[in-house]
């Protein structure tokens, strides 16, 4: 196995990890909601894609475009209806994290239950863009390359949005100092809802992309949420660039170990890297300590 193969496989896997985690970092970093039902909102759009593609012959790319606003609207509504009362009650203090974990934990079972009733516990899978593409003499599946490109595109785009625009500055202000943001006239709750919805749009897009090449079932959401959480914490909560970097780092590490040492050790390397980052930089790669 040559180096280009390894780099390419690492980059596509890393891109997938980063993409899975980006929505969560916005939701957790800005809205301060530890959304445990995150994985279910990744699987739900995968089912949407499955139904539209397999039963109605739609193009998965069209579903991807549809999923973005749909995911935003859904998660925005979840924030407004389910989470706003919690935010109000706790005054967005530390208690909010505990309460939101419990609330979204419940939501996890509701969404999962609905999917189980609708689709059963079976695995579902369809193929799209499962064709080889040659990159620098190495072969890679087009759908995985697409994931990497979307991850890079969304990561860079959102990074620019957050650092270069007024609304981005507002979002960052809420992320860094939610208590003081109102002093300069920022509506914290509206901004948090916006960030939460944005996270929803990202996770929905991710679900559609994942459905193109990974088999999924109604109960697989938790696995994705776990992976996302590791990447988010490694990258620094609320930091998109950190998310991208942490995802790629894990992807490269796993692929290197699988190629040159033993594929059985990928999980071990994953958690070793996670521990190392936590030991050296407890707030994550790009995180600021003691916010």
């Amino acid at each position: 196995m040559n180096l280009v193969d390894v780099l390419l496989a690492g980059a596509t896997l890393g891109g997938l990890y980063a993409l899975v985690a980006m929505g969560l970092t916005l939701q957790y970093g800005v809205a301060r909601i530890m959304n445990l039902s995150y994985g279910e909102f990744l699987i739900a759009p995968a089912f949407l894609a499955y139904v539209l593609v397999v039963q109605h012959g739609a193009s998965p790319l069209a579903v991807l475009v549809l999923a973005l606003p749909l995911g935003f609207a859904l998660q925005w509504a979840v924030y407004q209806l389910l989470l706003t009362p919690l935010v109000r009650r706790t005054g967005a203090g530390p208690q909010l994290e505990v309460d939101s974990i419990l609330a979204t934990f419940g939501l996890l079972f509701v969404v999962q239950g609905v999917m189980l009733v609708a689709f059963g516990g079976n695995y579902h899978s369809y193929g799209y863009l499962s064709v080889p593409v040659q990159v620098l003499g190495s072969t890679v599946a087009a759908n995985r390359l697409l994931v990497l490109l979307v991850a890079l595109g969304l990561g860079a785009g959102l990074y620019l949005l957050l650092t270069r625009t007024r609304i981005g500055t507002v979002v960052r202000a809420v992320a860094v100092a939610p208590r003081f943001a109102p002093l300069v006239g920022i509506d914290v709750r509206r901004t948090a809802a916006l960030a939460f919805g944005l996270g929803g749009a990202l996770v929905a897009a991710c679900g559609v992309l994942v459905s193109m090449f990974l088999p999924f079932s109604a109960t697989m959401g938790t696995m994705f949420a776990m992976k996302a959480l590791i990447v988010v914490i490694m990258g620094g909560v609320g930091n998109l660039m950190g998310c991208l970097l942490a995802g790629l780092l894990l992807g490269f590490a796993e692929t290197l170990v699988a190629s040159f040492v033993d594929p059985g050790l990928t999980l071990a390397v994953n958690y070793a890297l996670f521990l190392l980052v936590l030991l050296l930089r407890p707030a994550g790669l790009f995180g600021r300590a003691a916010r």
């Binding site: 193969d5 189980l116 059963g120 516990g121 079976n122 695995y123 088999p215 079932s217 990928t266 999980l267």
Partner: protein, 409 residues
């Protein structure tokens, strides 16, 4: 003395006559309203996928068909008695499976209990079945420990063989192919780092050594692996004619998909659980031509064709081509055992399962030492069906497609 004995005799005769008259009436009065059958299976959690593919459709179809015919024929009561189901979700956890099974037996007091999906959970509930004297018809459970377990568990029946049997049959079959000069002696093997994968890999490793094969690659990968490219690229460079993956459904899909993309086309490609699933057929269709896996079905058998039709009609999905047919046959065994005994008598039913000969969709089934081993060990996709190819001596066996044809994109 004689008068006394005569009177006694008369009295006894009268009593006997009265009893004989009452006899047909009395049991009819005690006939149960229903035969209660319980199951605790995974509706959620990591086992839910396998359960929904192989277990739930068969359990439900079996009950539906019996009740449509009026119920189980209990001849001791002289009538048919419908089945009533008590169901729990074990959430894929073995603790929960044990708890729910115990509850079914002691609180719900069901008459029979059907087991969950997966080797680990079948083994976890085994002691509970044994303690309460319920027959355990373990189908979705492949363990090398089965021959030892049946010595301790007099109520346990294993229907899907042992890991070693699959591995030995596969390597033995490859040996035949090598002797015929159709493949070389290098094998590349990967397995999932979990019960089923580890068992089969260690058995295959041993068998490969005995038959003089060279293992060009022999590694494991963890559950939940989302990219097989590194493994496949590595295996591609090892110049092996045979690629074996003892995998679970999601990784089986991944390996097939990515092997196709990478243009990795060994002469023999064998993937694990999932190769036989309807999802696999739906996704890969003609591209799967020549892929091998454990299990297989004799599609030329009318009973099997009929079963596939009924399964499709009852659940809207096809059965899998590995455990589904065996699962249904095991339920037929239970049904016939109960009907032969003619009443809800678990000890007698268990004894009947142990020694009886039953007529099922797989043909006649008779357990040997509480195990059923007249199975297909290796199957292969040929013209859109997953036919049994090994043991090659079994009636209905198809000759293998070797070498595997190129991927059709």
């Amino acid at each position: 003395m004689s008068a006394y004995s005569k009177r006694t005799w008369l009295r006894r005769a009268a009593a006997a006559a009265a009893l004989a008259l009452c006899a047909p009436l009395a049991p009819a009065q005690e006939a149960p309203k229903s035969v209660r059958i319980g199951w605790a299976i995974a509706k959620t959690g990591p086992n839910a996928g396998g359960t929904a593919t192989t277990v739930t459709p068969n359990y439900q179809m079996w009950v539906k068909e019996i009740n449509a015919a009026g119920g189980l024929m209990l001849k001791a009561h002289g009538r048919r008695v419908p089945i009533e189901v008590v169901e729990y979700d074990d959430r894929s956890s073995s603790e929960e499976a044990v708890r729910a099974t115990e509850r079914l037996m002691t609180q719900d007091k069901v008459d029979f209990v059907l087991p969950p999906w997966g080797t680990a959970n079948n083994l976890a509930v085994g002691p509970t079945y044994e303690k309460h004297g319920y027959p355990l018809l373990a189908v979705n459970s492949i363990t090398d420990k089965a021959p030892q377990l049946v010595k301790r568990w007099k109520h346990a029946f294993f229907f899907l063989g042992t890991g070693a049997q699959y591995a030995q049959a596969l390597i033995g079959y490859l040996d035949e192919a090598r002797k015929a000069g159709r493949i070389g002696d290098r094998i590349a093997m990967v397995h999932i780092a979990d019960g089923f994968g580890v068992d089969l890999a260690s058995a295959a490793r041993k068998a490969a050594g005995q038959h003089g094969f060279t293992l060009a690659y022999d590694k494991s990968y963890p559950v939940g692996t989302q990219d097989m490219t590194p493994i496949l690229n590595e295996v591609k460079g090892r110049d092996a004619d045979v690629f074996i993956a003892f995998s679970y459904p999601p990784d089986t899909m991944l390996i097939t998909d990515q092997a196709q993309v990478l243009g990795f086309n060994p002469k023999v490609m064998f993937t694990g659980v999932g190769t036989q699933f309807p999802m696999y057929k739906k996704k890969f269709g003609a591209a799967a031509e020549g892929v091998m896996g454990p299990g297989g079905v004799d599609f030329d058998s009318p009973a099997i064709q009929d079963y596939f039709k009924r399964h499709q009609a009852a659940s809207g999905q096809e059965p899998d081509r590995f455990a589904s047919t065996v699962q249904y046959a095991a339920l037929q065994v239970l049904q016939q055992a109960i009907e032969r005994v003619g009443k809800v008598d678990r000890a007698a039913v268990t004894q009947e399962i142990r020694t009886g000969r039953f007529d099922t969709i797989l043909g006649p089934v008779q357990l040997d030492n509480q195990m059923f081993t007249n199975l297909w060990w290796v199957g292969q996709w040929q013209n859109g069906e997953f036919y049994g190819i090994a043991p090659s001596s079994k009636p209905g066996a198809k000759p293998a497609l070797l070498p595997k044809p190129a991927w059709k994109n």
